[in-house]
């Protein structure tokens, strides 16, 4: 199968999954006890007013009409209205998205920058102290709940040593860019410093699991590659060891590692939800938790759709990249 046919097939599958996601999310409302009108109205409300509100929300329409209303707006970016604030859900989700993306990207960077060198060192110095250290780190790293790690970082680094703030996000990347554009370089640098200072602990909290996971993968991948015939052949023909390790073996190790990073983005977003709760980081996770506590179903549904659809799209992208980088894979 050619790359383009593979992409078409993969995109069609993706579309099907996106439809499924939207349908599941639509169905969520029906498994919840009580109807949305209860969120808006006091329990002892006049039945007439109640009927009016239900009609206004479209809850007395036949199911297929409600389903169509729900699903048809989504391609146009219409995710409905919040029951609580009466504002469009899409706008609220979009407003929160940058904070979560910043956190997820920062965590991924932390993970990659630490994990890949650590995994390589661990594999090339097998059964030496560095290897044992890296192995223990990755075992504990994948076993530690990230919210607890966040609390520990706050207790030690923020409360005891006062090195970092305990929470909040006073400025985002968009704000920093704005400062740069408006030409006040000093303020922009200040903004960047503030941003870095605030995102450090959340990024470590969210990134540790991935650092551990990628260290493990890189280590086993490198060990696997270093045992291959082509590595022995390159050594035999006199290539310097650094070239053998970092050009050939590492490169072949990275392909599966990148795939796993892509596949783990869902876990990353899940982790971001709880990391945001620990650090009062105003992103999608905070929005999701607040919407559940306020029983604001449309906001919850909209956030779920954005998260899941984003995940599906990223996965298609990763698959395409994988197929492009490694033409050996049978496009299945």
């Amino acid at each position: 199968m050619s790359l383009s046919r593979f992409l078409v097939k993969r995109s069609l599958q993706g579309l099907f999954v996106i439809w499924g996601v939207i349908t599941v999310v639509f169905g969520l409302r029906f498994i919840s006890p009580g109807d949305p009108a209860n969120v808006l109205l006091p329990p002892d409300v006049d039945p007439e007013v109640r009927a009016e509100v239900i009609a206004e929300l479209g809850l007395n329409e036949p199911l297929y009409v409600q389903y169509w209303d729900f699903i048809s707006g989504i391609p146009l970016g219409d995710l409905g209205f919040s029951l609580v604030t009466r504002t469009p859900v899409a706008a609220r989700v979009l407003a929160k998205l940058p904070a979560t993306l910043e956190l997820a990207i920062a965590a991924t960077i932390v993970a990659i920058v630490i994990a890949i060198p650590l995994g390589v060192i661990s594999a090339t110095r097998r059964h030496q102290p560095a290897d044992y250290g890296a192995t223990v780190f990755s075992l504990v790293g994948i076993s530690t709940p990230n919210f607890w790690l966040g609390v520990m970082l706050i207790i030690v680094l923020a409360v005891q040593f006062d090195l970092f703030p305990t929470s909040q996000r006073p400025i985002g990347v968009d704000g920093i860019v704005l400062l740069f554009v408006s030409g006040s370089l000093g303020e922009a640098v200040d903004g960047l410093t503030t941003w870095l200072w605030h995102i450090t602990l959340p990024a470590i909290t969210l990134g540790t699991y991935f650092t551990a996971l990628i260290t493990r993968l890189t280590r086993s991948g490198m060990l696997d590659q270093l045992g291959q015939t082509y590595v022995r052949a390159s050594r035999a023909k006199g290539l310097p060891e650094t070239l053998v390790r970092y050009k050939h073996a590492l490169r072949n190790t990275l392909i599966p590692v990148i795939t796993v990073i892509g596949l783990q983005l869902g876990t990353l977003i899940g982790g971001a939800v709880i990391t945001e709760a620990v650090f009062a980081w105003p992103g999608l996770g905070t929005l999701i938790i607040n919407s559940i506590n306020a029983r604001d179903w449309p906001v919850l549904q909209g956030s779920l759709i954005v998260v899941a659809v984003g995940f599906v799209l990223v996965n298609i992208l990763v698959d395409a990249l994988y197929a492009y980088v490694n033409p050996q894979v049978a496009y299945d």
Partner: protein, 354 residues
């Protein structure tokens, strides 16, 4: 089902690996702690004593600056008609009565760690079993029948996978509420544990029920069955081509019989390995739900970490100790999972974590 050869591999790998021994020891220890909680717990996990709130664990003491009434020669000092206060450092020492200290309400942390193990283990075991049941059923059906059945089942699995498991779990628990089923604690209602305790002079009044967090168990199974479905499907796809399966069908065995009698037993090894890792993942998921306050559990490691947050600047141990319990348990389970994987080499990847 589990062959002699498999057992031999397990034993050989266990002899060779120190980590595997540590893992088994940890898991057995936590299991015993959970099962025998009403015998060994120093106090009831809910017993409050506000006079003994925030005692540090053994080996630590705290110094707190407090505003206290100034006393001279045993009487209150009054100047200008007002009671004079002074700042004084108040030291709180650990006591052997509460070796791991007490929480913000003066509840014994050791007792809460012991009883918290029950919540984690219950959700871990029941949640994993339910997930395995659903997933294996779906996976075997998909892999055995292939074709359209396979397409429909595995595409629905893809839909589940599109949701981050924690996010989906939060949403489901959020909309469903937090149904819990208190079941009688067999050791307490039979009088076994109370008799044991009074014979040894322990405090009595242990809770007589075990709270089974029903919704949480169902939800963690609903978000994690997919991993079992994938593994079971892969196994079924290859096993159905084996000669003995073809022979069974040629002899007229029904599909259900063939799958149960021939396919499932030969797929069991990778499913067991996955189940071990999944118990760890589900314990982490439960602790995350409890931390966010969505599980409804009132004795849970994750919930206790959240409770300790309001004392994070004065009493670090309240959040720290239950978290250590989680890390130790999950490390143990992951080590057991590594042992099984190395010994049985079923060729599956580990999955799980929050």
């Amino acid at each position: 089902m589990i062959s002699e050869r498999t057992l031999r591999n397990l034993r050989r790998e266990l002899r060779r690996s120190l980590l595997a021994k540590i893992g088994i020891a940890v898991v057995v220890f936590i299991l015993l702690m959970a099962v025998f909680a009403p015998f060994i717990s120093p106090y009831s996990p809910g017993k409050q004593n506000l006079d003994e709130a925030r005692l540090p664990p053994l080996g630590f003491s705290t110094a707190e600056t407090k505003e206290v009434t100034k006393m001279e020669n045993g009487s209150v000092v009054i100047e200008g008609g007002e009671v004079v206060t002074e700042e004084r450092t108040v030291y709180t020492n650990a006591t052997a009565a509460h070796p791991l200290g007490t929480d913000g309400n003066g509840r014994d942390i050791l007792s809460r760690v012991i009883y918290g193990a029950r919540t984690s283990i219950l959700v871990g075991i029941f949640g994993t079993s339910l997930a395995a049941l659903i997933g294996v059923l779906v996976g075997l059906t998909a892999g055995y029948y292939r074709g359209r059945v396979d397409d429909v089942l595995m595409r629905s699995a893809d839909i589940m996978l599109a949701f981050p498991s924690l996010v989906l779990a939060i949403a489901l628990v959020g909309v469903w509420g937090q149904a819990q089923a208190p079941i009688p604690d067999p050791f307490v209602v039979t009088g076994l544990a109370p008799a044991f305790r009074s014979a040894l002079g322990f405090t009595t009044g242990m809770p007589d029920t075990v709270v089974l967090p029903g919704t949480v168990i169902v939800v963690v199974a609903l978000v994690n069955w997919v991993w079992f479905a994938r593994v079971a499907r892969g196994e079924a796809l290859s096993i159905r081509e084996e000669e003995y399966v073809k022979a069974a069908r040629a002899l007229g065995a029904s599909d259900g019989w063939t799958v149960l009698r021939h396919v499932l037993p030969n797929a069991i090894t990778p499913i067991l390995v996955l189940a071990t890792i999944q118990v760890a993942a589900i314990i982490l998921l439960e602790s995350a739900l409890s931390f966010l306050g969505f599980s409804g559990a009132d004795v849970s490691w994750g919930f206790d970490i959240a409770l300790g947050r309001q004392y994070q600047s004065t009493a670090w141990w309240i959040s720290t100790i239950p978290g250590l319990a989680i890390v130790i348990t999950v490390v143990g389970l992951n080590l057991v999972g590594d042992w099984l994987r190395d010994a049985l080499d079923p060729g599956i990847e580990g999955e799980g974590g929050v």
